[in-house]
């Protein structure tokens, strides 16, 4: 079974600084898909960024980028120029070809003014 581990329950960062959230996963599959979702206090889940395992290039979406290390089974999220609106729970997610989608326990990020 696939597992997703987020080892940082809580993190904080000063506004305009950079922060990195960690995610590791365990799978025997060779092809899979990775996602980061954020959940602000409104409880709405929002896709932040996605990565296909067969792509070596790290995905980037504006201030958000990932560091995907396939051999280490690591998928960290870097948030640059942090903004107050980035305060949220962040979930790492993993999906195999059978469309079974699993999430980690989450990291609560607080951006401080």
């Amino acid at each position: 079974a696939q597992t997703v581990t987020q080892s940082q329950p809580e993190m904080s960062v000063q506004e305009a600084e950079t922060v990195t959230l960690s995610c590791t996963y365990d799978t025997s599959e060779s092809n899979y898909y990775l996602f980061w979702y954020k959940q602000p206090p409104s409880r709405q889940m929002i896709l932040v960024i996605r990565q296909e395992a067969y792509k070596q290039q790290n995905a980037t979406e504006n201030r958000f980028s990932v560091n995907f290390q396939k051999a280490a089974k690591s998928f960290s999220l870097k948030i640059s120029d942090s903004q107050l609106g980035d305060t949220a729970m962040y979930f790492c997610a993993f999906m195999t070809n059978n469309n079974d989608m699993r999430f980690g326990a989450g990291t609560r990020l607080t951006v401080k003014p």
Binding site: R50, N98, N99, D100, G106
Partner: protein, 113 residues
């Protein structure tokens, strides 16, 4: 916003009673998921569906059953509710394709007393 609606939004029920939560979509998406969200555990997959009458178990399926008789509806049933099933339940939908984004409902807060 993706057309996905969960009902009810809040429910309080007694231990031992059956409960059914409904997820309704207007997007004609193939995949539908039920998760529960608990502090310290993130989102855990209960069941998912890859088509009408096609469902599979997730990581915490004990005590839950699902049905999908129409593309647009995915029902989650707690046959005999227990206090350990007090949680926030989220439904999600995804279109065909391996890298497609999941869209989530607003969540249902279920309290079993």
């Amino acid at each position: 916003d993706a057309g996905i609606t969960q009902s009810p939004r809040h429910k309080v029920t007694e231990t031992g009673t059956p409960v059914t939560l409904r997820c309704h979509q207007t997007e004609n998406h193939r995949y539908m998921y039920w998760y529960r969200q608990d502090p310290g555990h993130g989102l855990r997959l209960i069941h998912y569906s890859y088509g009408v009458k096609d469902t599979d178990k997730g990581e915490v399926s004990d005590g839950y059953s699902v049905s999908r008789s129409k593309t647009e509806d995915f029902l989650l049933t707690l046959e005999s509710a227990t206090s350990s099933q007090t949680s926030v339940y989220f439904c999600a939908i995804r279109d065909r394709g391996q890298n497609t984004e999941a869209f989530f409902g607003q969540g249902t807060r279920l309290t079993v007393v």
